[in-house]
Amino acid sequence: MDGIHDLGGKLGYGAVDVNEPEQPFHNDYDGRMWAISRTARPTGIGIDWWRHVRELIARDDYLNRSYFDSWAQTEMAALVDAGICTLEELLDGCKASGDIPQALTYVEILAENARKAANFGRPVSTKPLFSVGANVVTDMQGHRGHTRLPEYARGKPGRVIKHHGGHVFPDAAARGDEVAGHLYTVAFCARDLWGADANTLDEVMLELWEDYLAPA
């Protein structure tokens, strides 16, 4: 989707704040929101749909609100959409209606953290179309809904440098369908993406699903 989130290569966003103090959380609410995302009971809201919900935030809110504020809005929108709460409950609060999950010790929380290494690899029944070293060209149009082919890498020549087997295909997962597709790391010469300004030695690497690629 040609949304505001698809920022790679866009101009006009100014300098990077390289003097930001190095600390895990910059506001209390950053930590609360991170903790909510780690510990809430499962809701059936998958990562790809969640990302798409975030991409659909209005342009000015997406750019101007802080990162964890946008997580909060994404979470709220996804919960209302799935019928887990209503807009009115979010705005006015609701009565306590369920037993909260059991309190865990700090050591148990660290153990839970260690178990969060999710595996997105999935068996795929087709043979891979491309082998390492293959020249490919990316899809020119891109996909309308959630997709992981950024605009700057559309219709571009690249070279497969790694094959990762089958991975959950986000374009379908964001529509509620779990389908696996072959995933590759594809290297692009910076000059093919950005023209003569780029250094001839430089490359940009992306992970791309087979569906985005054609033989070159």
Partner: protein, 214 residues
């Protein structure tokens, strides 16, 4: 269990309502969400406190630095880190969110690596902890793929034209950690002493020449 609609039109409508009716202070918005989830029986606030503590104390760039220092001193570990980083960090007890498909990429005299997620802000939380704000900004996400050398210069990394730059845009569930070069004159240092020399930014790729006496 309730199900998402998977309908972008519905989401746009909800976003518009939230935009119009929620307080503008993000702290109040997150508090409203937390209160709702507690009342719905979905979160325990004391567990939330401990997650904040975990990512303030134990899970952070110190873990990544331990991995790098070990890779500098233990060739067999370095080889495993390059071939199967997820297994290598799991063996150190550092598995966690976004470590399931971890890839390590190594800097050399003629190559510099830098990591970004242009489409959202994917980050190897399990090894580096919370992402810096700048990593999540439009400025970094838009520019580092297009003009990596200019962005690196802002971070104080001036790369000669004959050092190649590889930018890794995390568009799938693979996450990257950069193995910086070991600083010179550090032969006598222990793994723990070496780990102290590794900066968070060096593992993202926005720092390059680490100093022996940091």
């Amino acid at each position: 269990m309730s199900k998402p609609s998977y309908d972008p039109k519905n989401i746009k409508k909800i976003h518009a309502h939230l935009h119009s009716h929620l307080p503008s202070d993000p702290a109040l918005r997150v508090k409203a969400l937390e209160t709702l989830l507690v009342n719905k029986g979905m979160v325990n606030p004391s567990n939330m406190d401990k997650w904040v503590e975990a990512y303030s104390e134990d899970v952070g760039p110190k873990r990544g630095a331990q991995v790098i220092a070990r890779a500098w001193t233990d060739p067999a570990f370095r080889a495993q880190l390059m071939s199967d980083a997820s297994a290598a960090v799991d063996a150190m007890g550092f598995s966690g969110p976004a470590s399931g498909h971890l890839q390590a990429v190594e800097n050399t005299d003629s190559l510099h690596n830098v990591v970004v997620c242009t489409l959202c802000s994917c980050y190897p939380f399990a090894l580096l902890g919370m992402a810096p704000n700048w990593y999540k900004t439009a400025a970094y996400r838009s520019r580092v793929v297009r003009e990596p050398r200019a962005v690196l210069a802002e971070f104080g990394v001036d790369l000669p034209a004959d050092v190649a730059v590889k930018v890794w845009d995390s568009t799938a569930e693979l996450r990257y950690i950069v193995i910086p070069q070991r600083p010179a004159h550090t032969e006598g240092l222990s793994v723990d002493e070496l780990a102290k020399l590794v900066t968070r930014n060096a593992m993202i790729g926005t720092d390059r020449d680490l100093k022996a006496g940091a």
